[in-house]
Every structure is written in C-alpha cells, then in structure tokens.
Amino acid sequence: MKHTLRDFGCVQNKIPLLCDNEGAIKLADNLVNHSRTKHIDIHHHFLRDHQSKGDIAIQHVRTEFQLADIFTKPLDVSRFCALRRELNIVDSHNVA
C-alpha cells in the first residue's frame, strides 16, 4: 500500500500499526531476550525488519479502540455496533 501511495505522490514514513498487546510490541522493539520465543515465525522477523527500517511503527492501542477486534472474535451487540460504526459501515438511509 505504501508503494502504491508513493506512485501517487504521497510519501509517508512510519506508518502506525496499532496493536493491543503490549508484550508483542515490546518484543518487536527489543532484539534481545528471546530464549522463550524461538518459535516465532519468519513473518514476525519481516515485521521487525520493516520496523527497524522505519517503514512502520508499531504502537499500542487500548482494547476499546482496537478496530480489528470485529475480525477476530464474536462480540456482543453493543460492542459490535460500535465497531461497525467506527469502520464506517452505515445504513443507506443515514447518508443522503
């Protein structure tokens, strides 16, 4: 996506990638202390490479504002509707 945007003439460094797990963020920031995390796959290293290059910046977001929740777990009505609104999914009667 970054490359596509660059083709259109929009350059953005450090694209924020918001994650609600602080442990995962610390792991991405910190290159040492991984005797317990040897099983981590190659795509995590891919993320870490990009972070060290400055392409992305992994940041923390509170679980309430984690919009990707709707794609990973079943939610109750109020939370589901709130996230749906945040994703800009609206009723056609509300736009006009």
């Binding site: 994650c19 079943p74 939610l75 109750d76 009505v77 994703l87 736009v95």
Partner: protein, 162 residues
C-alpha cells in the same frame, strides 16, 4: 456519453458532496429471497458471543451444494460488508463436511442480514492521505485445531481500504 456511476457489478454507488457510499442492498435482498430467508426473524449480530464452531462429527449431515452456494453468495457480500467477514469465513471452513449446526450458523448470518440489509461502506471526502493499520489476534481461538485468528484493517485517512 457516460453518466454517473450508480450500479456496477451489483454494487450500488451513491456519490455525494461529502463522500461516496457503496452498498449491496439489492444483492442482499435478492439473495435472501433466493434462499427463502426474507421473512425470517431478524437478529442484531451475525454470530453469538460463544460462536466458535467445531467439527461436530455426530451431527446430521446436510446438503453440501446448498451450503456451498450459501457460502459463495455470502463471500461476495463480504466485499462491502466487513462486519460479516468473520462469521462467513468461520462457516466456510466446514464446507467439506457440513453438519446441521453449521447450517444454523449460516442461517444466523442471514437473519442478521434481514435486520441490516441497507448497510454499506461510507468513504468520506478527505484531503490527507495518511495510512494507519490495526492488528489483532485471537490466540488459539479455533476449537478444531487451536489455531489463532488474526485480523487486520488498514485505513487511508478515515476510510477503510483493506
């Protein structure tokens, strides 16, 4: 001469001053009629909060053709309805050997669509082009193989793009 784009590949497109709205209302209602679900009782969410499905080896087997055609229709709807993505993809994993409980899960999605046939994606007009992404993981959430579910969404300014 070409007019303004309003209907394309079963997407309904509304172009307004404040932004663009894309929905699949007609496709949704046609699909509900096709599967005889248009009179069903509406529900507010596409799946219950304890909605993870399992293989259900002892359950009664059902017609694979119908199940697969339902999945196929729903996957096309997912393009502009990311709210049903999770539930549709979960049902799609059991296509090889669908049982009655999986059919019930699919029906629940249809009941949700009866409740919300008019939803679509709204792309507000904006001037900045900043990307930000969200990433989330449901660790070992799958009841069949204990696999994790990951979900991502990327926003360009305030609009969902992937």
């Amino acid at each position: 001469m070409m007019g303004e784009l309003i209907y394309f590949l079963r997407f309904q497109i509304k172009q307004l001053k404040a932004g663009t709205f894309i929905s699949q209302t007609k496709y949704t209602t046609d699909m509900l009629k096709k599967f005889d679900m248009d009179k069903a009782k509406p529900v507010k969410t596409p799946m219950p909060t304890i909605g993870h499905l399992d293989l259900d080896g002892d359950g009664k087997a059902i017609d694979q053709k119908v199940y697969r055609s339902m999945i196929g229709s729903l996957i096309y709807l997912c393009v502009y309805r990311p709210d049903i993505m999770l539930s549709v993809c979960m049902c799609a994993r059991f296509q090889a050997n669908p049982k009655e409980c999986h059919l019930m899960a699919i029906k629940r999605i249809f009941w949700y669509l009866v409740f919300t046939p008019n939803l679509g994606l709204w792309y507000p007009k904006g001037s900045t082009f900043t990307v930000h992404g969200y990433f989330d993981l449901d660790y070992a959430g799958c009841r069949v193989k204990q696999k994790s579910t990951s979900g991502t969404c990327q926003f360009l300014c305030r609009s969902l793009v992937s």
